[in-house]
């Protein structure tokens, strides 16, 4: 087991009162497994991942629960210990590649420095490795790319450079937070391929965050659907897409227009919009938008239960 998260809760104190951004998230991740985390903006994808990485720096945040990385409890570790662990074994990619790059140094220099920091190899060796890595992430001309500054590259190429950097430390765990959201589908297809390659070649476990059901269905082995800070459904990719159970998952899948076949005259839409965490409804957070809500949903918060394929919904529990 690479990662095991139990009952993770993250709250923030804000002007408008306390906000529970993450409310009891649990998941496991095995070696060379890709976990897709899907949800709309504000559903808590980023905050839960930042919490797992120990990267929430907001002094108004409270984090509870347990996060075990290769069996070792991370909650309570010092910032320094966490940083050492992250740098060596955990790589991260974000939507904006510039989060991981510095504008003032060349791509080659930045990746080489990272390799030297972790491996203590000579500069020449590091540079040779950088060229290999850039080739691996499909830079058409890796040698030339090494001397480029980030601003001289397109968004897609920058993201590839960040992935090359991630690959350089042979990570046991890769965390990717919407790394393709700002990219064209043509470029995205290449990046998704790289993530698959990384898993195949380095046996890295991957947590891949996205709001795109299509991306999840193409990439993930297992899927976690989030809504308003909770996991509303989890299962294998096949379970989730061939037998979606939670009304939210079903509605979301139903509202995506098809790319082939008959066009529906109207799309089955979900009414309303995702709730504000400051004004969460009593009972089920999806209740006000749910087509099948009934009395129990008004007051109780449905739990996820312990099944491998599970949905946090009273209707599903009853069925």
């Amino acid at each position: 087991m690479i990662l095991s998260v139990r009952d993770l809760k993250v709250s923030f104190r804000t002007h408008d009162g306390p906000v529970r951004a993450i409310d009891g998230v649990s998941f496991d991740l095995e070696e060379s497994e890709i976990l897709g985390v899907v949800g709309e903006s504000g559903s808590g994808k980023t905050v839960s991942l930042l919490a797992v990485m120990g990267l929430i720096t907001d002094p108004n945040a409270t984090i509870e629960g347990s996060i075990r990385y290769k069996g070792r409890e991370l909650v309570g570790l010092s910032r320094r210990e966490l940083r050492r662990l992250r740098g060596n074994e955990i790589a991260m990619i974000f939507q904006d590649p510039m989060t991981a790059l510095t504008p003032v140094y060349t791509i080659g220099w930045q990746i080489a420095e990272q390799i030297r920091a972790h491996r203590g190899v000579s500069k020449a060796k590091a540079m040779a490795r950088v060229e290999q890595l850039l080739a691996e992430v499909n830079f058409p001309n890796p040698h030339e790319a090494m001397s480029r500054y980030p601003h001289q590259l397109s968004g897609g190429m920058r993201q590839r450079a960040v992935i090359a950097m991630a690959l350089s430390c042979d990570p046991a765990l890769l965390v990717a937070d919407e790394p393709t959201t700002a990219l064209d589908v043509t470029v995205q297809a290449g990046i998704l391929d790289l993530v698959r390659k990384l898993r195949a070649k380095h046996k890295s476990a991957v947590v891949f965050i996205t709001h795109d059901m299509g991306v999840v269905s193409e990439l993930a082995d297992r899927v976690m659907v989030m809504y308003a800070g909770r996991v509303v459904e989890r299962g294998t990719r096949t379970e989730l897409f061939s037998d979606p159970r939670h009304p939210y998952t079903r509605a979301l899948l139903g509202s995506i227009p098809p790319l082939t076949g008959q066009k529906p005259r109207r799309l089955p839409a979900i009414p309303g919009s995702p709730p504000s965490l400051l004004r969460l409804p009593q009972g089920c957070a999806f209740g006000p938008r749910c087509p099948v809500r009934y009395e129990p949903c008004e007051t109780g918060k449905p739990g996820l239960g312990s099944d491998a394929h599970a949905a946090a919904c009273f209707r599903v529990a009853q069925a």
């Binding site: 709309e40 903006s41 499909n138 058409p140 397109s154 897609g156 190429m157 064209d184 589908v185 043509t186 470029v187 995205q188 297809a189 290449g190 998704l192 391929d193 709001h211 795109d212 059901m213 299509g214 991306v215 269905s217 193409e218 990719r237 096949t238 897409f241 061939s242 509605a251 979301l252 899948l253 509202s255 995506i256 227009p257 098809p258 790319l259 082939t260 066009k263 529906p264 005259r265 109207r266 799309l267 089955p268 839409a269 979900i270 009414p271 919009s273 995702p274 938008r289």
Partner: protein, 329 residues
């Protein structure tokens, strides 16, 4: 030709170039060929979807079509009248009939004004209605776009993204336009809200007999709303045809790659979809490649493609492709 068949909007070899830099900057003055040789006909009541990677010139073309940009070359015709170089005052009567909706509604909505005021603004500027008539019209518009009557007193920030886009749409249709250009109108919205807006646009089109030009980077959304598709690459249209046909059997290698790259939800992955992965990025419109502009990335390019630029040829009625070797079925 009946009135219904007459094109509402037509471009002939339209081009838009931007000059960047000065003769004192390192690279001197340079020309961005943002839109190049676009001949497009838009008929009343249809929705033409523009697709292509970012930087392909979709927004620039859209802005040329409503004359928010001056046109560098070629012609723009509205109901058969040449409006390519009409002055702003000559354009004023037309403005009402050509409207535009943008991706980020908040950017075009003054945060200090109530949304009722914001929707009334175009009506006031137009100056043909009394204030009582304006109030009535605003109420009607709110109803049309699915906002509640008491929403008029709210401020934009009190609204969700989807509601703000409804306000943006209400403003655009306030003066009863004929043609609305929608540039990424659902791209900033939550997935669960996109379908509402897509449906709203379809309803309004039917009720108000609108013609749309629709841009989105989500190809399945474009297919859903469009009757016709124009695929753009480096400022030019490389393929055009009925939406479902282009998606089912794309004829241009670029369209094929673009459509094959869309991740789709498959309940049981069959692996049947063949993906064409393009290498490299869209080249810079500062120095477009010779011959076929797609040749540096085209998986089937041959020598001829490097020297001879393929024309956008109509292979059968309504089906155009700009490629020496189109896949026609």
């Amino acid at each position: 030709m009946t009135d219904l068949d007459r094109p509402i909007l037509e471009t002939r070899s339209l081009a838009k170039r931007f000059s960047i830099g000065t003769r004192f900057s390192a690279e001197g003055r340079r020309t961005v060929h943002a839109v190049d040789n676009v001949s497009l006909t838009v008929r009343r009541g249809e929705t033409v979807g523009l697709v292509g990677e970012s930087g392909c010139g979709k927004s620039t073309l859209a802005r040329c079509l409503v004359r928010l940009y001056d046109i560098t070359d070629g012609k723009l015709l509205f109901e058969g009248n040449d409006i390519t170089s009409k002055s702003l005052s000559e354009l004023r009567p037309l403005r009402r009939r050509l409207q535009m909706v943008f991706q980020d509604p908040s950017a075009s909505l003054n945060p200090r004004r109530r949304v009722g005021d914001l929707v009334a603004e175009p009506l006031r500027i137009h100056g043909k209605l009394s204030s009582r008539e304006i109030t009535a019209r605003v109420a009607k518009l709110f109803e049309l776009v699915g906002l509640l009557p008491d929403h008029v007193m709210r401020y934009p920030h009190e609204f969700s993204g989807g509601q703000r886009q409804r306000v943006g749409i209400a403003r655009a249709i306030a003066l009863n336009p004929d043609l609305v250009v929608l540039d990424e109108p659902v791209s900033a919205l939550d997935v669960s809200v996109q379908a509402q807006i897509v449906n709203l646009l379809a309803d309004l089109q039917e009720k108000l007999k609108l013609t749309y030009i629709f841009i989105a980077h989500d190809l399945s959304v474009v297919r859903q709303v469009s009757t016709r598709i124009a695929v753009m690459y480096l400022g030019s249209i490389v393929e055009e045809g009925p939406a479902e046909e282009v998606f089912a059997t794309p004829a241009h290698p670029y369209s094929q790659a673009l459509i094959s790259a869309v991740p789709v939800v498959e309940t049981t992955p069959t692996g049947a979809r063949k993906r064409i992965i393009l290498t490299g990025d869209v080249p810079s419109p500062l120095k477009p490649p010779s011959g076929c502009r797609f040749h540096p990335r085209c998986p089937i390019a041959v020598d001829r493609c490097r020297s001879e630029r393929p024309e956008l040829k109509e292979h059968r009625p309504g089906r155009k492709v700009a490629c020496h070797f189109p896949t026609l079925t």
